[in-house]
Symmetry: C2
Subunit: 242 residues, 2 copies
């Protein structure tokens, strides 16, 4: 399993930036230097720089050397999808309490979003997520039957559903997240321990496989004191992290 050269270069540069070997505000070595250093042609070097640019780590312009904008990159795919990973990275103790899991026919709107027949069954679950033992987020998830059925037999208080699905070879490829603000309803208020009507950050998420077939639809509500979304965009790109 050989790692592509452009990934090696990107990782190395990321590490130097994170470690402070190249300070924020300082310029990276020129492409020519990097080519020498890694014994590579300009192709892989530019691919690596392009990746860092997408992550919001570096900026620059034609004729100018690339400049370090930030030492902490937006986190990669897994951490964006997984509450558990995110908690680990930020040094908190993740936890969860399953409230309900059910096999039922979806509401028409949910069926439409997932692209399934309203007469087909789906797997729905409600789970309270904890950080260091305190309520942080309430998730209401709906899975298409093929993907969700194995969840009925799994220990969902144990850890990350995302990791579990990856283990089973489910092709989680892309996700569209929509964020807005809502007032806490009765269930939110009780489980998240906030007053009814308190502002919550809502994330609605549609996850699809690599051919675009929907797999999961979720409505997650965060206490705003424990989670924010961060999006970084430069002139030709965007990049985000929770």
């Amino acid at each position: 399993m050989t790692i592509p050269l452009h990934r090696v270069i990107a990782s190395e540069l990321r590490q130097r930036i994170r470690a402070g070997a190249i300070a924020v505000g300082a310029a990276l070595p020129s492409e020519a230097r990097l080519c020498e250093e890694f014994s590579a042609s300009r192709g892989p070097v530019r691919q690596a720089l392009s990746a860092l640019r997408e992550e919001g780590l570096i900026g620059g312009g034609q004729g100018k050397r690339a400049v370090v904008l930030d030492a902490v990159p937006a986190q990669p795919f897994e951490s964006f999808l997984s509450f558990t990973r995110r908690a680990e990275i930020t040094g908190h103790e993740p936890g969860q309490r399953l409230q309900e899991i059910a096999l039922r026919r979806p509401e028409p709107t949910v069926a439409a979003v997932l692209g399934v027949d309203p007469d087909d069954v789906v797997v729905q679950l409600v789970r309270l997520r904890l950080l260091d033992g305190r309520p942080a987020m309430l998730e209401r998830m709906t899975y298409v039957e093929a993907v969700g059925r194995p969840l009925l037999d799994a220990d969902l208080d144990a850890g990350s559903i995302y990791a579990l699905l990856l283990d089973r070879g489910v092709d989680l490829h892309s996700a569209r997240h929509t964020f807005d603000a809502v007032a806490a309803d009765a269930l939110d208020a009780r489980l998240l321990d906030v007053p009814e009507g308190a502002p919550l950050l809502r994330e609605r998420r549609l996850t699809t496989d690599s051919s675009g077939t929907p797999i999961e639809w979720s409505d997650d509500r965060y206490r705003p004191d424990v989670a924010t979304v961060t999006v970084t965009n430069t002139r030709n790109s965007r990049s985000a992290a929770l």
Copy 2:
């Protein structure tokens, strides 16, 4: 002013996808075909496909042809930054009412974020943004003096500050947006016409030039019924739009 070939290819493909000439779920032509069609080598073609991938428009994998995931791309940089552009794209009539513009010394926290001395002056303004004549967003912006001073003489009820700054050659390059939910305070409630305590989507934004020097700090609060943030991420990338 010649437009780079890879941009031409990307625009053309984007247009075909938006127009439905290539349906959602269908496969794009192979790279070899696109090379023939645009009389290009694989370089520009792959650059174009990579751009569409970043936007969440297409997906795919090694050996497989690229597949259309979505007909509506996350909008590019300008629209992410500019309320005015965004409104135009979505077919609404943007408007604004300047509440206040002032030259004053910043609070310590704001000074720290912008990297200016607390004894330096900054330009602060409060503006209510409207969609089709109805209150949609309240923005509280702080500019470093060099950039903000010209704003004192400009007609800020006329249109986009972003466009105005670009005209003056200000190097707006990248921005970091942080989203969360807050309860409306007294000023929010009065101007946005919502009850005090109602949930609002808050965007805090730090805009920098291409060398990473901060230019603007802003606290924008949206009525959640008029704005959501959408983030699309695929296995190796992230991309976002309001």
